[in-house]
Symmetry: C2
Subunit: 234 residues, 2 copies
């Protein structure tokens, strides 16, 4: 048994008022008074690629906000295989369910190095009843998570292998550079799309041959979208 390298680091306490992505996250429209009500420090953390943020059923310490990187939500299926139910990206909240049950419903694993801040449950419970601004934001985050989940099912787990890979390419576009998209290890992509890794590889190669994608690196993680329309109508 090879020991799993747990690789996470505490980077200090967050300064939420001056957070670079504050407008995307839970604390977007808190006022000075709201911030004054935060009595427990919010930790700034970094997780290495493949490091778990938490595991399924674990008792929750807090809820995470993803500032940089990507995180996969993994569930154990009945027959023991790994199923990736969603991939979270900057601005997303990780482990919202802990607010209702104090436990996590799935396992969260960093896909690449992930920068997060961890907000203690107590802070959120207190603020959600005392700040209508946070209350509203929280509702929006719940709605966003549910919509993401449904989208993931409707868009990525539907139709032929080619359609699924094309849909994933479109979903994983870089928000800042919409012509570029991020892929993952082929077996992870297989677990997202419910197809085998060889099929993933074949369909990517096929889309590259057809001029829809162009590889940007030699590891097969980053591609340029050279024909968006072609991808959309797969």
């Amino acid at each position: 048994m090879i020991p799993i390298k747990i690789d996470s680091a505490w980077k200090g306490t967050s300064d939420c008022r001056n957070c670079g992505i504050r407008d995307m996250v839970l604390f977007a429209d808190l006022n000075e008074q709201d911030f004054g009500e935060i009595h427990t420090p919010i930790d700034d953390m970094v997780f290495a690629a493949d490091a778990p943020l938490y595991t399924e059923g674990e008792t929750a310490v807090g809820v995470f906000t993803l500032r940089k990187g990507m995180v996969k939500l993994v569930r154990a299926t009945a027959d023991g295989r790994e199923r990736i139910v969603r991939v979270l990206r900057p601005g997303d909240v990780i482990g919202l369910e802990a607010l209702a049950t104090a436990r996590y419903d799935s396992e969260a694993i960093a896909l690449v190095e992930a920068h997060v801040c961890r907000i203690p449950l107590s802070v959120l419970h207190h603020l959600s009843s005392n700040s209508p601004r946070l209350h509203k934001r929280l509702m929006q985050k719940w709605q966003g998570a549910l919509k993401d989940a449904d989208d993931w099912l409707a868009d990525l787990n539907f139709g032929s292998a080619r359609q699924r890979v094309a849909a994933l390419a479109l979903k994983m576009r870089d928000p800042d550079q919409p012509d570029f998209t991020s892929f993952f290890a082929r077996d992870d992509m297989g677990a997202m799309l419910d197809i085998k890794l060889e099929t993933v590889s074949r369909e990517i190669s096929s889309l590259v041959r057809d001029g829809a994608l162009k590889p940007c690196d030699k590891q097969g993680r980053r591609y340029e979208i050279t024909n968006e329309v072609l991808l959309q109508r797969q």
Copy 2:
């Protein structure tokens, strides 16, 4: 074009205090004071099978609680086919997303005659900030919906056609009579599991032949689970 029969009926105003399934729903632990804060009547409604409760993108009037029957949540996919993302059952809340956006993210259609009550958005907005009891319930409903969505993806849209049909049979067990389960029109089942209706039919027949299921009616809607273990390890 065959006109769609809109078939819904208003059955009066709900008496939430004496609701038969109150312990399952949003108003479970409201007190007398909370009820006093409800200034808009809550409508009691019945929708016929195949009638839509609302459509995708529609401006929301309120949120529904399902008291009896089943409702499917349908999304349009990129290529125009129908995809069923979830089936809701008694106690579930329908259209929660309206609380955040005042619009519905999918279409809701009654699978069989459905009895619901419609709670106006204003009532929920008011109570969720004034009653910690509703606030907590609401959080639980969000968490439940998200878990359902992820479960649906992980359990039902994974593996072989046989596994999917078996998983659906187990998920649709009758809560009161766990040995019985409900199926749907074969094309609806196909849209839930992302397989074709002929394949659904074949796999059901096969499970019946193998002694895992036994048909209870001649329409193929109700089956007895005669070998639970066999279903689980498909």
